[in-house]
Amino acid sequence: MNKEMTGAEMVIQALLDQGVEHIFGYPGGAVLPIYDALFQQDKLQHILVRHEQGAVHAAEGYSRSSGKIGCVLVTSGPGATNAVTGLVDALMDSIPIVVITGQVPTHLIGNDAFQECDTVGITRPCTKHNYLVKDVKDLPRIIHEAFYVAQNGRPGPVVIDIPKDIQFNKGMYVGPKNIQHKTYRPKLKGDLEKIKQAVELMRHAKKPLFYTGGGVINSGSEASVLLRELVKLSGFPITSTLMGLGAYPAADKQWLGMLGMHGTWEANWAMHDCDVMICIGARFDDRITGRLDAFAPHSKKIHVDIDPSSINKNVKADVGIIGDVAHVLEDMLRLWRTGAVTPDKKALGDWWAQIEKWRARKSLAFKNSKEVIKPQYAIQRLYELTKDMDTYITTEVGQHQMWAAQHYHFQEPRRWMTSGGLGTMGYGLPAAVGVQMAHPKSLVIDIAGEASVQMTMQEMSTAAQYDLPIKIFILNNEYMGMVRQWQELLHGGRYSHSYSEALPDFVKLAEAYRCVGMRCEKPGDLDGVIKEMIKVKKPVIFDCVVDKMENCFPMIPSGRAHNEMLLGDAGVAIEDAITEEGKVMV
């Protein structure tokens, strides 16, 4: 469709042509023409948030849970700077979103105009790519390119900064069909020779392990299916990062649970002792590897990633395969099926026997109580009471996030939305808003901490406005629990500013937002109140009062190796667990 229209109209048309149905945003002077164009149509629905950070997290939640691109519209200056946290969050977790920012008119750029900021300068290291539109005739191409860049290759956030005069100017609109990016062509197929080498290594492995990550989920639903097939066929154990949960069903016997700093005993020990590691769509982040020089010391490492810079960044790969997970898995499966050598059954049997011993250690066990609600117990009950429903989980950041990852089990991809790379407190509530927009009929729960949730609490108002029945399940321990845990470990139990003082009454707060508030203080009442929460068709804040002093285990203290994990019941004096070197680490 080629037609003359204003820049603002082009924005709407281009978004519609890209299949966008929802856009999260907040108006202001520099985007008024676009808001005016929004007003005059009814195909694209705008969701008014209460803070631009919330808009970006909502778009992230929308995108992660649906596989579509999340879209955001904010004004210049403070609108753009408020969006920055969300942009970095999406960059770190590879979430495809397109963020449109208004800018002061072209002739004022550089003059310190009202609400001017150097948006492309500020967001350059916070985005996969960004654009400043200088001529309305470039606008349609840039928007279509932005969608292409955001979702192809390793996904990420793209910013389009549009000065106000460009929004008024008229030009010819061009549709997405004839737009091709000049340079950006990520490689999808992996090098077949390398894949052969990888499969050869796998065939001869005695102690193999799949280590998978968010890349499997980003690659699309086909990738999870292929992964399941390969894991089943090979009979190998599998673990995953925080970001990868759900790509492989947690109910399956070959699943070892999450690995890393708060991973299971069996996953981390298997990681340490394996002889062939098959890393798929994960990036050897420091939360996974622990001490690098003691990381899986006897293993050959296969690393599949669409981003060449992920390979050999932290850990040297013996076989590095650059390509899309689904494409590479497809080749791996074909080669695995047609190969002559069969895996060493005896060795695999021994390996599984060893793993079962580790598993028998029951590292996620905790001492339950009849008097106070243990946070782990709360997650377990939440899981049991919602697992057979169409449920999506988001989280904030802290102990509750790790307990959710440990005790809520995911059978399908895209059901788990959490801020992994950046660890952004305040992610979960707005993310839940986004998830609920994408899945209006589903049960969407934000597993929250009382501190985190106050960072973006105002989005309850968004939920109320759009009748989004999100459930904010707060594990209220009156502490920034994760900070307190580290202070216990590293700073002699001096709880400097980690107590959540002067907390609001969350039940009344919910009511003030015209939502529903609930509180539970006794383990015996928990099931009943959770069931009640599920029944309510309105947004709910659930104040779940839990044990204040519970710590999250297992834990690999910083600077330690996988085989130096701490367990909750090990009786190790916790202050002695970290070495001097470990103390400087984050």
């Binding site: 981003d307 910083s558 400087v584 680490m585």
Partner: protein, 183 residues
């Protein structure tokens, strides 16, 4: 622009002294606004070294520019630098000129020297030996134009020091591979 060693990493045990190597990279980019900022921001943001950087449009119709970067790092870091550069959306190609054979590197310098009598004569004599051209002269000064490998220019500057060196302006390295192939 160099990274302080030893103290910044969260993994001090990992700071084993690894051999660093020098590399010259040629980066072909779309000549669009901000592309140089992307490249420089990448280096500063990730703590890589820039020993020299030059940039100019090389193919006007195609809107292509060529950035030449001399850098130092461990082999693992050099590999990262190349991949990180390739990841930038407007980057077409990254070629490691050092790795792909002995590349030719040249730099241009303008050197201002002020002096009288003997030192003036001596400066002229040395300039001649280095094939430097005089592009400006007054009764008490010269500006020399000199091209060559960076080491040659270093040497010339050192020799001019006692003869009244006032200031030096250098372009930084530009480089190209030998043989018939382009990048």
């Amino acid at each position: 622009m160099s990274k302080p060693s030893g103290t910044t990493s969260h993994y001090p045990a990992q700071q084993t002294v690894e051999q660093v190597v020098h590399r010259t990279l040629s980066v072909l980019v779309d000549n669009e606004p901000g592309v140089l900022a992307r490249v420089i921001g990448l280096f500063s943001g990730r703590g890589y070294n820039i020993d020299s950087l030059t940039v100019s449009e090389t193919e006007h119709e195609k809107h292509l520019s060529r950035i030449t970067i001399a850098t130092t790092g461990t082999p693992m870091v050099i590999e990262q630098i190349k991949h990180q550069l390739e990841r930038l959306v407007p980057v077409h190609r990254v070629v490691d000129l050092t790795e792909s054979g002995k590349a030719m590197e040249r730099e241009l310098a303008l050197v201002k020297v002020r002096g009288k009598d003997n030192s003036r004569v001596e400066a002229l004599r040395l300039a001649d030996a280095f094939r430097a051209r005089v592009i400006d002269a007054t009764t008490e000064s010269f500006v020399f134009e000199l091209t060559g490998k960076p080491e040659k220019i270093d040497q010339f500057v050192v020799l001019m020091q006692p003869l009244g060196l006032v200031e030096v302006s250098r372009t930084g390295i530009c480089a190209i591979s030998r043989g018939p192939e382009g990048m």
